[in-house]
Symmetry: C2
Subunit: 236 residues, 2 copies
DNA sequence: GCAAAAGTGTTCTCAATACACCCATGC
DNA sequence: GCATGGGTGTATTGAGAACACTTTTGC
């Protein structure tokens, strides 16, 4: 160990893996870079950490500048710092992943950034190590969502159980028994049944539910075991 | 988003939370700083990320320079970057936690660094945000160890089931039924019984076991549920 | 009246828990 | 011979998994 003097400084950035769910599919929001280097290529939304902010703040700033959203679910994932990860200049990047309700973000902003949603099996070519970041984010999301009731963050305030069911099936690329699934989610006491129904995706219509926010906050740590346990868990 | 020009660079460091287990207690290895600022105070072992290395390499370098160990369990925990976390100069620090077999590290090295083992409830005052780092590392260790067979990394090659039992009890600060515990660990098929016994801690002696390395590698992702589930899980 | 999705109950199996006694040995 | 820690078996309970039919309604 040595003193602070003579230590090389480096650029520090954040990158956001922004997940959204629509058309029964989990997607990520990518932008087409409007600046060099790699202009025109696809990448995660990112930005440099400014002198007055910490990484969390930087990630929040970046996220809300792209989506217009504040207070959404945002969690630090991992710091990537291979000396050659950015061929133009040594840059450390701390990746964050965000879960947003796709119905609430401001479309005009994302359009101004040339942002688009991509299904996870249809990703375009990405700059640097951004594909690794997405892979790791997806693994962590799978891991967490199997244990904690986190996926509600991807749904609108009012949602139906079949929607939630589809979300789990999409994330784990599996099929889950409807009856067992319903019983399990309802047994958490996290859901409050509404009186109205969502009628676009079926004739019968599915009841809307809302999150019981208080119970959600208290039970977030609670285990769920929504998913039959050994579903492709990678190391966290 | 902006180009690379005019972006402020900052110092980037790593800090290692090094866990060890002896005297039936989980401990962390701390050093007494031999340089300014904060000379003489206790801190985690750390170092700056060099131009030719990534954070993982830096953490490995720092860890082995203190312990003499290579190839031990080391995992990135979190990046701390509050603008004021280091009052002397803006520094980003990526924290790593390591699990070592306390019998294998080289004592002369740690002594040269004025390093000492501290039980987690007897920590001295630490510089900067190092206490937060330890708290977070402990939470993550608890979380992971409840789900994955990770604690073997803290034990010597040959260990007894009562030792393992004590380790779990120490980490979770709880008591676990001996019979159920034995049944569970043995049912994982991770352990290979040896013919000799450890005789210092009892008259009867306890059989030594070794890890089945192959099975360990294959089953590391496997869930364990060694711990009654809702044991103080904080968000990961 | 039929297609399409929503909603609901029961049985079985297995794993988690609780719990108490015998064993081996050093002193 | 007794104190100390090591080692083992059983009965009960609850949760997860498998599984099929009825309901509603737009067309």
């Amino acid at each position: 160990m040595t003193s602070y003097k003579n230590q090389k400084k480096l650029l520090a950035a954040v990158d956001c893996i922004i997940f959204g769910f629509y058309e029964q599919t989990l997607k990520v929001l990518l932008i087409q870079r409007g600046f060099k280097p790699e202009e025109g290529k696809w990448s995660l939304m990112g930005g440099f950490i400014q002198p007055t902010e910490g990484p969390d703040q930087a990630a929040n700033r970046v996220l809300s500048s792209l989506t217009g959203l504040h207070g959404v679910y945002l969690e630090q994932l991992h710091t990537f710092g291979d000396p050659n990860r950015d061929p133009y200049e040594r840059t450390l990047s701390t990746a964050y992943f965000a879960l947003i309700d796709i119905q609430q973000y401001e479309k005009q902003i994302t359009e101004a950034y040339h942002a688009e949603w991509f299904a996870l099996n249809e990703l375009p070519e990405l700059i640097f190590d951004h594909e690794d970041m997405i892979t790791m984010a997806l693994e962590k999301l799978r891991y967490k969502a199997a244990l904690h009731p986190i996926l509600f963050e991807l749904l609108p305030t009012k949602f139906t159980i079949p929607q939630l069911h589809g979300l789990y099936e999409s994330l784990y690329n599996t099929s889950l028994d409807k009856r067992n699934f319903n019983r399990k989610v309802l047994s958490t006491n996290l859901l409050v049944k509404q009186n109205d129904k969502e009628k676009t995706s079926s004739k019968k219509g599915a009841y809307y539910y809302k999150l019981n926010k208080k119970s959600y906050k208290n039970n977030f740590q609670a285990f769920l075991t929504m998913i039959p346990v050994p579903v492709s868990f990678k190391t966290m």
